[in-house]
Amino acid sequence: MYHKTLPYRIFNITNTIFLLLIALCCILPIFHILAVSFSAKSAADGNLVSFWPVGFTTIAYEKTLNNPIFLGSIWIAVKRTILGTALTLALACLAAYPLSKEVNAFKSRNIYAWIFVFTMIFNGGLVPFYVVIQKLQLMNSFWVLIIPSAVNVWLTILLLNFFRGVPKELEEAALIDGAGHFRTLFSIYLPVSLPALATLGLFSIVFHWNSWFDGMLYINDKTDYPLATFLQTVIVQRDMSSMSFNPVEMAMLSQKTVRASQIFLGALPVMIIYPLLQKFFVKGLVLGSVKE
């Protein structure tokens, strides 16, 4: 019984502390940003803040949340996330069902599967893609954020592998009872695949919420940016032009705290949603992508 030996106990305690410290390293930077965002200008600019606000104030958040461009970009991001995720999930469900069939049940299955998989191993690159977007008149349109990324082959394969685990008897019973394939998909497969759908939903939500490059590349007007793109201009390019500072505010506000408040608000939705779905994505990921 190794659990009771002294060396193992010492190891176990050291190990637990070590891993807890590593885990702490993963969240401390967020705490630091949070502390900066609630700190006073002098403390933030003087680099005095570590993990607790110095001179507590909410003025950075007031400024951020009063910026119409910031609020507008949140709305665009929410729209894009909801519509994009709905479209991606719908397409993935429809495509994964026939692709999960055996070749003898669906003869063209392998051809289709290769058409899907080939897009994962080869792509035309940035310039041809840009030209296609231009030719389709998608530049500067909201839909450029949703349509080009609508099919996610990786998620489709994840769902396909999950569908394969669904007992054949369920499908046979439904078909014998006279249900068509659409009916079988919607009334049999989808209800039993909720963990997989939650996984796909989470990945798609995170993808859309975090996507910034398409907004930057295809949209010119800052007021049409989704949140992630807007944040990129503020956080990385340090472009503060969308915020007008009056002299009184200049004295109290530091760019650092305003930036920190925006970083934190941008990260918040994702930080809330992934722990709730942790049970699902751990299982969904393992079932969908790893097979013996």
């Binding site: 190794y2 429809l94 495509a95 058409i115 080869f122 792509n123 690159g125 041809p128 030209v131 013996e292």
Partner: protein, 297 residues
């Protein structure tokens, strides 16, 4: 009868197929731009054909060769560490028997994976700044050294890129290993215990060998990423000071195309990357199938 039965299948695939053709296959035809002196106002059909000039230019230009090397080095280091770190982290995590502690650790280490490089780039440039950033403040006060130019000196930049990538992804990478650990047959441990094996011996002779097939799969599959050094990350962290050591193919393509307007060269670089990646992916999937009997679907 059989034909009637199959039409819903085709119908279900059709919407995805249309999207794939328009947004994946049509752009593939666009690689002809790599062989043209492409001018946007002339388009694909009227731009001048220049054969392999773009590729010759690509391998003659010093900066583009350097960029390929940078990509290879940064991505290679990422591939190695993204395999090794989650492997051992999962083994150590497996030793923690208290479910609550184990779950909490997992939740915390998954966090950075879900944040975008825009957010993380903002956080990292703040805490790694030489001008009073949190990390440098700690290092200076503990070790009494000069502030480290994490993001403004070439070699340190590579180090920072690789380390921050591990920091972001190692937790997420442990998921498959934790699953593989849960699948190990408990009777192996029971039998070895009867034989008087210590936990260390069990780890060496049972745990690690049982995890190796999964490590082979993860390792071989990540070979296809050997030219994916991480556009989002580099783009949000780099600056002109570190182009020499930190510029990678994807950021180079972006600057060459969008900022310099040299579309032909940018497409050529992109095509070079796509072809090399494709070869590596095909090889790696073959290997994964041979070594660990892994198939994508």
């Amino acid at each position: 009868m059989k034909r009637i039965k199959n039409w819903p299948f085709h119908l279900m695939i059709l919407p995805s197929l249309i999207f794939l053709i328009v947004f994946n296959y049509v752009p593939m035809l666009g690689i002809v731009i790599a062989f043209q002196d492409f001018k946007p106002w002339l388009g694909v059909f009227d731009s001048k054909w220049i054969g392999l000039d773009n590729f010759r230019f690509l391998f003659e230009r010093k900066d583009s060769v350097q960029v390929i090397w940078n990509t290879f080095i940064i991505a290679g280091l990422k591939v190695i560490f993204n395999l090794v770190v989650p492997f051992f982290f999962a083994i150590l995590l497996n030793e923690i028997r208290k479910a609550f502690i184990s779950r909490t650790i997992q939740t915390l280490v998954y966090l950075p994976h879900f944040l975008s490089w825009v957010i993380l780039g903002g956080i990292l440039t703040d805490i790694l700044s030489t001008d009073g950033g949190l990390i440098n403040r700690m290092l200076v006060s503990v070790f009494n050294i000069d502030p480290i130019p994490f993001l403004s000196s070439g070699n340190w930049f590579r180090f920072t890129v690789v380390l921050s990538e591990i920091w972001k992804e190692f937790g997420y990478g442990t998921i498959v290993f934790i699953a593989a650990l849960a699948n190990i047959n408990p009777s192996l441990y029971e039998a070895s215990e009867v034989d008087g094996a210590s936990r260390w011996k069990q780890t060496i002779y049972i745990t690690i060998p049982s995890l190796l097939p999964m490590a082979v799969v993860v390792g071989t599959l990540s070979l296809g990423n050997i030219l994916n050094a991480g556009f989002d990350q580099i783009f949000n962290l780099y600056n002109s000071l570190v182009y020499a050591k930190g510029d990678i193919i994807d950021t180079f393509v972006y600057r060459t195309a969008i900022l310099e307007g040299n579309f032909g060269l940018a497409t050529a670089v992109g095509l070079f990357k796509s072809v090399v990646s494709m070869i590596l992916i095909v090889i790696s999937y073959r290997l994964a199938y041979k070594l660990a009997n892994y198939r994508v679907f």
